[in-house]
Symmetry: C2
Subunit: 167 residues, 2 copies
Amino acid sequence: MMRMMRVFATNSPLSDDGIARGLSVLRAHVKKLGLKSSVTRDAVAKAALERVGHFTVEDLITDIRKDSTLDVHPATVYRILPLLLDACLIQHSLLANATGARYERLFEREHHDHLICIRCGKVVEFEFEAIELLQRDVAERLGFRLTEHVLELMGECASCTRHEESR
Amino acid sequence: MMRMMRVFATNSPLSDDGIARGLSVLRAHVKKLGLKSSVTRDAVAKAALERVGHFTVEDLITDIRKDSTLDVHPATVYRILPLLLDACLIQHSLLANATGARYERLFEREHHDHLICIRCGKVVEFEFEAIELLQRDVAERLGFRLTEHVLELMGECASCTRHEESR
DNA sequence: CTTCCTGCAAAGGCTTTGCAAAGCT
DNA sequence: AGCTTTGCAAAGCCTTTGCAGGAAG
């Protein structure tokens, strides 16, 4: 009962080994589809796996440019992302009010939901088992086989509330 | 305990009186901002209030064209929607995987979350108080003042599951 | 009569697509 | 050699913005 809610105040980076495992998963997935691995695909996957929080297509391109001499075209990233999604390396994350698609790493991470500060944009990740259970309960009662869910809580974080008061 | 979960299998239409009340709210809101009412604004608001489920900008334009001789330009609708949001007549609804912005009526409706069939797209609306309570609990524990939330459950509905089995 | 609203057209993001050149196996 | 992948440019959506004419108070 004590560990029902876990809080990931900071989303931790994936280890080098983890990144290597992720790349293997992608290569295997690509091969299974009868497609080919490539330097570009690996670079995009690596950039995505290295990212700590939520990211955009542009973030990936910037990162890749920073630590290699590659300059990957946006269109190419848009073509590679479905592969990463398919291979379960990343997932969509639809942070409300954000323009453009956001993603986040899924590989070797626990499921979590989001608590977003509407003032400063800070994102706290959490998992609350009781909520998960109730969600399954609702779906079942309504005759659905639950496969996925999105839960985003929006509000004002403690420090933003404080700053407001002191004004 | 018996009424903890309410299910709105069908989202019911707003009565004519309700629509009239909605329009009054909009007019008052517009006046408060020092702006002007107009035939176009009323038409957009009426179309939005009459809508039963989730809708897009294009839906509204189509509806207006259908029951009046007005032909409202998209740019105009995009300029009117913030007013409706502000006046709490409608709210954003970010059904995952949908392209383009979606809205739904908020005026004279209860809060609800969504259960979406990933096969046929059916949307069931529900409210589960226990989940709401836990959400507030999470936010509080993490120092947030909760103002809003989005919960969407995705899965396969009973009839889609049946059809699958019989294939 | 003054101010705001609307339609139109153009411009802005983000994303997708067609094509030819480059890269793998 | 035969295939996939990539970069580029163009096109596609959805949405926003500037402007001039029209409506509201």
